[in-house]
């Protein structure tokens, strides 16, 4: 059985075809592979035309991206078969904007909220300072927008993943 996937990492797309148990092609170039999961470890080993690679590979927590941790570097890959790819292309960039929700990345104490509801923020502006693990951590806006809701204040304790504020 041959399976064909379109795998996207960053801005690059790779057409990966699984030809048989020991061959794949990537963008039509054929490689000999030997791919195994290392027993007892969440580690995969790949010999690709003899070159040895190992990686941890696991599904992401909240999205469909595969996380590939290889040689100290994390790659996030979207793997789609041809049907899924057509669907997602149709959906298009419509979902690109929308609300950004700042959740607490870990339990902690809100030290300061330097923005107010309605404030205009730029990418990189500090939205909130959270104290955790004996450190003050600045949480920044990933993009330009307007602060819509602020749901915590300085002095509040927050649980992990608690919604703190939103930017639209």
């Amino acid at each position: 059985m041959m399976s064909k996937y379109i795998t996207t990492i960053g801005e690059k797309q790779y057409t990966v075809e699984l030809i048989d148990a020991t061959h794949v092609s990537v963008n039509d170039k054929i490689y000999e592979i030997d791919f195994v999961v290392v027993s007892g470890q969440p580690v995969f080993s790949l010999l690709l035309n003899g070159a040895s690679f190992q990686a941890e590979v696991y599904p992401g927590e909240e999205d469909d991206l595969m996380q590939v941790l290889m040689r100290g570097r994390l790659y996030e890959a979207l793997v789609e078969d041809e049907r899924e790819k057509r669907l997602s292309s149709a959906a298009g960039a419509a979902a690109q904007s929308g609300e950004f929700v700042l959740r607490a990345p870990m339990p902690g104490l809100v030290v300061k909220v330097p923005v107010e509801e309605g404030a205009q923020v730029q990418k990189g502006d500090v939205l909130l300072i959270l104290e955790s693990m004996k450190m003050q951590n600045e949480l920044k806006s990933p993009r330009e927008g307007k602060v819509t809701r602020v749901q915590v204040k300085a002095g509040d304790s927050v649980e992990q993943r608690q919604v703190m504020l939103s930017v639209e």
């Binding site: 990966v16 791919f35 600045e138």
Partner: protein, 504 residues
């Protein structure tokens, strides 16, 4: 003389101290908070007692409770590690009052060095150079500051008395721009801290942070074990240390001159046991006393590696009333050691602390590699304590070999479940300026960008794409047969072990 030691700490340093006790045949008593029931220090100690809930102020900072455990278990000595109660003179005093040996300096030395003004005055009196400035008088008028500035010389720094984090700080190059900068510093300080007081400090340009390890016994014999280079910092947190310092390198005369001043500073407070004198060093080899850490230092292993002296063992011996096992002339630095602090921090996301369950943990091993850690596969990194996961230490014959070895060790190190700063260390170790030894305390924050550094590195997105596709494919194949697609929210570890069992 004690033969049972209570370790008033947790994590890697508690494990480190338990190991040293075990190697000396001393019994050990661990204390732990509710979060730490499974921790390694609890399991390695001979005895272990719960002292309170997870937050450290309710457990590891509870002096009375810890002293109670010591009394109950007849532990007649306490090692405080670093952090927590290590630099609390009241705790050292309370130990003494209870007839318990505090494995560290006398309470008076902790007090003297703990207060910045007192420490400065004490070491100045002993003839130790300090950074010129007005810091101990924080409420001077602009006129007095301008007068003082001429004495200190330029460039200098205006700093907020109430300050921290760079707020209200200004670099001043000459007297003409100073009145203007004074005003803006004061107003920023006022806005940030509600206090517009400022003081002046000479700006040590291209400063390095170099510290000397001190050991002193009860008879007053005091030696230094050479220096550690600690200039690689981010937000005043040390990240990577080495011994010797590439700046001092083979200038043995300079090393001994600094070491003698360090010993002098320690003697000025009648120091006992292990401590560290921190200096700022400028490019012309002028050096200034910064502070003394009156405890075991996180980065003590690199000194152990190059001197062959086990500092924790030596601490225990000294506390038992023994003489120092070395004289100054016996101390030799051989080879080169580097320590990388592996923190649970997301190097790619502003070093945000990362908590979670370590599902997988493979340590680097082999020649010249040492790991000091308190974590293991199955350990939970909680938000209650600092983010240090482990200290990766390598030793090589030369600095070049140590750097190459550290790169190799970082590549082998595998932690799954929390994010770490390993990518940061990997990038630093490839920077030309680091390799050349040409860096100062501002290097990480001002001259280094992880994104830029990684931008230049070889990547393998195509290989990653193949990995991702093969795993996704097998997963899809399996889920079609076995598991409904919606069940993918199981943890990685379980998922992999399920796969593995099916494929075995």
């Amino acid at each position: 003389m004690f033969d049972k030691v209570l370790i008033a700490n947790r994590g890697e340093i508690a494990v480190r101290i338990i190991r040293a006790c075990r190697e000396l045949g001393l019994q050990t008593v661990a204390v732990f908070s509710e979060a730490d029931r499974n921790a390694l220090h609890v399991r390695l100690a001979d005895e272990a007692y719960l002292i309170g809930p997870s937050p450290s102020r309710e457990s590891y900072l509870q002096m009375e409770r810890i002293l109670d455990v010591a009394r109950k278990t007849k532990a007649s000595a306490i090692h405080p590690g670093y952090g927590f109660l290590a630099e609390r003179s009241d705790f050292a005093q309370a130990c003494e009052d209870s007839g318990i040996t505090f494995i560290g300096p006398r309470p008076s030395a902790i007090s003297a060095m703990g207060d910045k003004a007192t420490a400065r005055a004490t070491v100045i009196a002993a003839g130790v150079p300090v950074v010129p400035g007005t810091e101990d008088v924080g409420n001077l008028t602009n006129e007095k500051l301008l007068a003082a500035a001429r004495k200190i010389g330029f460039p200098l720094l205006i700093k907020a008395t109430a300050g921290g984090g760079g707020k209200g700080m200004r670099e001043v190059r000459n007297i003409d721009e100073m009145p203007h900068l004074l005003e803006s510093a004061r107003s920023e300080a006022l806005a940030a801290f509600g206090n517009g007081d400022v003081y002046l400090e000479k700006l040590v340009e291209g400063a390095r942070h170099i510290e000397f390890q001190i050991m002193a016994d009860m008879e007053g014999n005091t030696v230094h074990l050479g220096e550690r280079e600690c200039s690689l910092q981010r937000r005043h947190q040390k990240l990577l240390e080495e011994a010797p310092s590439p700046f001092i390198d083979d200038d043995e005369e300079f090393r001994q001159r600094m070491g003698e001043v360090a010993v002098k500073a320690a003697k000025a407070v009648n120091y006992l046991n292990a401590g560290t004198i921190e200096f700022l060093v400028d490019k012309d080899k002028n050096f200034y006393f910064l502070e003394m850490n009156t405890r075991l230092q996180v980065e003590h292993p690199i000194t152990e590696e190059v001197t062959g002296i086990d500092i924790v063992t030596e601490q225990l011996r000294i506390a038992r009333g023994r003489q120092l096992s070395v004289r100054q002339e016996d101390v030799k630095m051989q080879g080169w050691a580097i320590e990388c602090r592996i923190n649970a921090e997301d190097a790619h996301n502003n070093f945000l602390p990362s908590t979670g369950y370590i599902s997988h943990h493979v340590l680097p091993t082999g020649p010249g590699v040492r790991v000091d850690t308190g974590v293991f596969g199955g350990f939970q990194i909680t938000p209650y304590y600092d983010s240090l996961v482990s200290k990766l230490v390598v030793k090589g014959e030369s600095r070049a070999q140590a750097i190459l070895r550290m790169r190799r060790a970082l590549e082998e190190y595998r932690i799954v479940g929390v994010k770490t700063n390993i990518p940061f260390h990997q990038s630093i170790l490839e920077q030309a300026r680091f390799i050349a030894g040409k860096f100062d305390t501002r290097f990480v924050e001002e001259r280094f960008s992880l994104e830029e550094a990684e931008g230049g590195k070889e990547t393998h997105p195509e290989i990653a794409a193949i990995f991702a596709t093969l795993v996704a494919h097998e997963q899809a194949e399996r889920s079609a047969h076995i598991i409904s697609r919606g069940k993918r929210d199981t943890s990685n570890w379980k998922w992999v072990s399920r796969w593995e069992r099916m494929n075995r």
